[in-house]
C-alpha cells in the first residue's frame, strides 16, 4: 500500500478513538438539556478518562488474567472495527478485512469477552449482567442480519465501502425498503449499545442494569479502557448507520484530494451532532422496558427489517 493510504488509514483510527468520547459527551449533554437539567461540559468524558487512568487499579483478590486482559481486548476490537468502517473515506487498505457480517462477528467477540470477564469474579451482579447482555445479543443479531440482507439486495455487496460507493453511483434511486431497514437498525443500535429502552447508561440501580453490572468490578485504567471501548462501539455503530443509510459526504474511490477529505470530516461531525441529538431525543421519550419485554422490542425490530426485505422483493418482482 502506498504511504498516503496508510496515513489516511491511521488518521481515521486515531480520529475515531479521539472523538468517540466526545460523541458520548454530546449525547449526555443533549439528554441533560432535554430533561431540563444543567448539562455536564462537553469534555467531561475526557476528564473522567484522565482521572481513571491516574488512579491505582483495585483488583478483586481472585481476578484471573482473563479479567485483566479483557479491557485491552475490548479496546482493541473496537479500534480495529473503527479502522474497517469507512467513516471518512472508502478507499481504506483495511476495509477489505471484514465485510459487515464479519464486523458483527467482531462486535460479538467483544461482547463474549466482556461477559466472560463479568463472570470471572463470581458476583451475583456480574453474572446476571453477563447473562442479560448475551440475551440481548442473541435477540439483536437476527434483526441486524436482516438489515444487512436488505442492503445486500439493494446494492449487491455486504462490504461497507461498496455500499457507500453504490449510493454515490445511483443516489436518486433510493429503495423504499431502506427506510424500514433504517428504523430496524436504529432499534438494534439502541439495544446493542446499552441505551434506553433496553438498558439505561446512567443507571446505578442494581437490579435493572445490564452493561453497568458487568463493569462493577473494574476500576481505574481498566474501567477507563472499558468505558472508552463502549463509546467507541457507539461511535462505530453510528458510522455503520451512516455508511448504510446516510453516506453523503464520505469521500468515495478516486476522491483523493484535501478538499473531499475536509468535506468528509465536516459531514461526519455534522452527522454525529445530528445523530447524537436524535439519539438523546429518542431516549428521552422512551422509558426503560422490563427485561422480559426486551424480546418483544427486538422481535419488533426484526419484523420491521423483514418487512423491508419483503417490500424490496415484491417491488422487484
Amino acid at each position: 500500500m502506498s504511504g498516503i493510504t496508510f496515513i489516511r488509514q491511521l488518521a481515521e483510527v486515531v480520529l475515531a478513538i479521539a472523538i468517540a468520547p466526545l460523541f458520548s459527551g454530546w449525547i449526555a449533554q443533549c439528554r441533560a438539556w432535554l430533561q431540563n437539567r444543567s448539562a455536564p461540559p462537553l469534555l467531561q468524558p475526557y476528564r473522567m478518562l484522565d482521572k481513571l487512568f491516574h488512579k491505582d487499579a483495585a483488583l478483586a483478590m481472585d481476578a484471573s488474567a482473563l479479567f485483566r486482559a479483557t479491557p485491552y481486548v475490548l479496546f482493541g476490537a473496537m479500534a480495529l472495527a473503527a479502522a474497517i468502517i469507512p467513516s471518512l473515506v472508502t478507499d481504506l487498505p483495511l476495509a477489505r478485512v471484514a465485510d459487515a457480517i464479519a464486523l458483527i462477528g467482531l462486535f460479538a467477540t467483544a461482547r463474549v469477552f466482556q461477559s466472560l470477564a463479568a463472570m470471572d469474579i463470581g458476583t451475583a451482579f456480574g453474572t446476571m449482567g453477563a447473562r442479560r447482555e448475551m440475551m440481548v445479543g442473541f435477540l439483536a443479531e437476527p434483526a441486524l442480519l436482516m438489515v444487512l440482507f436488505n442492503a445486500f439486495l439493494v446494492f449487491g455487496s455486504t462490504a461497507l465501502p461498496d455500499l457507500v460507493d453504490g449510493y454515490a453511483a445511483h443516489r436518486a434511486a433510493v429503495d423504499p425498503s431502506v427506510i424500514f431497514a433504517a428504523v430496524a437498525f436504529l432499534m438494534v443500535l439502541l439495544a446493542e449499545n446499552a441505551r434506553l429502552p433496553i438498558d439505561n447508561p446512567a443507571t446505578h440501580l442494581e437490579l435493572t442494569m445490564i452493561h453497568e453490572a458487568m463493569l462493577l468490578e473494574y476500576s481505574a485504567r481498566h474501567l477507563a479502557l472499558v468505558e472508552w471501548a463502549s463509546s467507541l462501539k457507539l461511535f462505530n455503530y453510528a458510522c455503520i448507520g451512516f455508511a448504510l443509510f446516510l453516506p453523503w459526504g464520505i469521500a468515495t474511490h478516486g476522491q483523493d484530494g484535501g478538499l473531499p477529505l475536509f468535506l468528509a470530516f465536516a459531514a461526519l461531525i455534522g452527522k454525529l451532532a445530528l445523530a447524537g441529538a436524535a439519539l438523546a431525543f429518542v431516549e428521552s421519550l422512551s422509558a426503560k422496558l422490563r427485561i422480559f419485554r426486551a424480546p418483544e422490542y427486538l422481535a419488533m425490530a426484526f419484523l420491521i427489517a423483514v418487512l423491508g426485505l419483503l417490500v424490496h422483493l415484491l417491488l422487484r418482482a
Partner: protein
Amino acid sequence: MVHDLRFLLILVTIWVVLGLAGLLGLHSIRLERLLFLLGALVAFSVAVLAGMFLAAGGTAQVLVLPLGLPDLPFHIRLDALSAFFLLLVGVAGAGISTFAAGYFRSGEGTAPALLGLQYHVFLASMAVVILADDAYLFMVAWETMALSSYFLVTSQHRIPDIRRAGFLYLIMAHVGAICILLSFGVLQGGSWQFTFDAMRGASLTPFWATTAFLLALLGFGAKAGLVPLHVWLPEAHPAAPSPVSAMMSGLMLKTAIYGMLRISFDLLHVRLWWWGALLLALGLFSALYGAIFAAVQTDMKRLLAYSSIENIGVIFTGIGLAILFETSGLRLFAALAFTAALVHALNHALFKSLLFLATGSVLHATKQRSLGKLGGLIRHMPWVATLALVGTLSIAGLPPLNGFVSEWLLLQSFLFTPQLPHAFLNMLIPLGAAALALTVALAAYVMVKFYGVIFLGQPREASLANARDANWLERLGLGWLALGCIVIGVLPQLALRSAAAVTGTLLGESVRPSATVWWIAPIASGQASYSGLILLLGIVGVVGVAFVLVRFLAHGRVRRTATWDCGYPWQTSRMQDTAEGFGQPIRHMFGGFFRMERDLPSPTDRAPRYRIHIEDRLWRGIYLPIARGVQRLADAIGVVQSGRLSIYLLYSFLTLIALLIFVLL
C-alpha cells in the same frame, strides 16, 4: 499413482494391529499409553496423506482387495470427497489419541487393552467407511463402527443408566443401518451390482431417486442426530468416556455427513430442488432445537451433545442450500454452500473434540459432571482453561477463530438465495438466514454459560480447590486441536483449498480459495471479503500499542482488594448465577419446546429445595407412542403362544397343510 491408497490401507491396518497388540498385556496401562501414541502418529500420517492428495488435485484412485466373500471382493476408492473426510478424521484423531494416551487409567470399567482394541477398531472402521467403494464393504465397516462404538459407550457397563444409553444408541444405529441398506438396494437400480461404480451408472426415475434419497436421509440422519432422530445423542455422548465422546461427536457424526454427501452428490444423478428445501428446513430446525436445548442443560457433556445437534443442523443447512442452488443451475453458489458445509464439518470436528476432551480433564480432576458443582477452575487448571477458551470462542462462531469462517461462508451463500427461481421460497429463505443468525448467537450464549460456569467465578464446592491440571499428554492433545482451530481461523485459505478439490470434482465449480495471500473473497474480489489473519494481527497490534501507552503515559499499579459488588460485604459462591439461572431466559422465551417439571419451595419451607426437570417433547410425542405400538403388537402376537406343546404341533401341522395346498394349486 495408486500409492496413496496403498499407504492409507497400510495405515488403517496398523490401527487394527495396534488395537490387537494391546491384548499382550490386558491390564497394562503403560503399553496402552504407547499404543495410543502410536495410533496418534498413524492418524497424523493419514491426515498428511489425505492433505497431500487434496493438494495434488484429487484424481480418484481405485483398488480391488482380494478380501470378502467369493465373487464379492472389497472395492475401495480414494477421491477428493473421501480424502477431505480422511483429513478430518486424521487431524482430529491425532489430537484425541494423544489425549487418550494420557487420559485412560485403570478403573474405567473395562480393561485398558479392550478399550484400546475397541478404540482403534472404531478409528479404522471410520476410515474404511470413508474409503469403501461398494455397498457391501460400506455396510460391514458401518456396522463395525456402530458395534465398536457401542462397546466404548458402555465401557462403564456396571452402571444401569449407561447400559440403557448404550442400548438406545444400538437400536437407533440399527434402525438407521436398515434404512441405509434399503437405500443401497434402491440405488443399484435393477442391475444387482452393489459397487458404487455400478450405482453411478444406474439411471433412476425421479420417484426411485427420491426413495433412495429419503431412505438415506433417514439412515444417515439417525446417525448424525438430525431432529427428530437425535434422542440417542444426549444419552450416549455423556455416558461414554470423554475421548470416546470426542470421537463420536467430532468424527463419527461426520461419517454420516459423508454418507449423505456421497449418495446425494455422487451416486445419484437426479436431484430435485425440494430435497434441498427439505434438508434446509430440517437442518435449521435441528440447529435451533439443539441450541435451545443446550442452553437449558445442567450437565456439561449433555450440553455439548445438544450443541453437536446444533452443529449438525448447520452442516445440513449448508447441504440443503447446495442442492437448491445446484438444481437451479447456480453452480458457483452451490459450491459456496457446499464449501461452507465441508468447512463447518472440519471445524466442528476440531472444536467439539477439544471441548469434550476438556470436560474429560475436568471430570478427572473434580469427579463432577454437573455444572452446579463446578466453577473457578481457571485458577486451578490454567492449561485446560486456556485451551478450552480457544474451543469456546471457536464454537461460539467468533472471529478470528475457525467457527466463524464456516458460519460466514454459510451466511454469504444465504445472501444469494434471491437468485433462485422459486418466487415463494425466496421470500421464506431470508427467514432461514435469520434463524441461522439466531442459532449462532444462541450458541455464543450457550458457550458463555459453559465456560463461565465451569472455569470462571467462585468454586461451588470446597473440594474443587484440590483440582489438578491435566497431564502433559492431555495438554498436548488439547493443544493440537486448539492449534487447528486457530490455524483454520486465521488461514481459512487452507480449508477452502481442500474443499475446492471436492466441489471441483462433484459440482464442476469451486469458490476462489483466496483473493490474495491476506484475505479470502470466495465469490469475486469486489464482493464480501474476510481476513482472519489481519483481524488477529490488528487486535494484537492495537492491544499491544494500548498496553504500552497505558503503561508509559499512566502507570501499572495494582492493589489487590476484596470484591466490591456494590459494597455488599457478604459474598458466597452460592450467590453466583447457576447453570439453571442461565437457562431461565431461554425457558421463558422458548417454553413451547420443553416439557418442564418444577418443584418450587414455598416461603415457609424449613429446608427449601428447588428441582427442575426438562424433557424433550419429541420423546413423548414420537418415541413413546412407537414403543407402545410395538409393545401392543408383540402382545397381540403373544396370543398364539400358549406354552403347550400340542398346540405348537398343531401350528406346524396347519402350516404344512397350508403349504401343501399352496404348492398343489
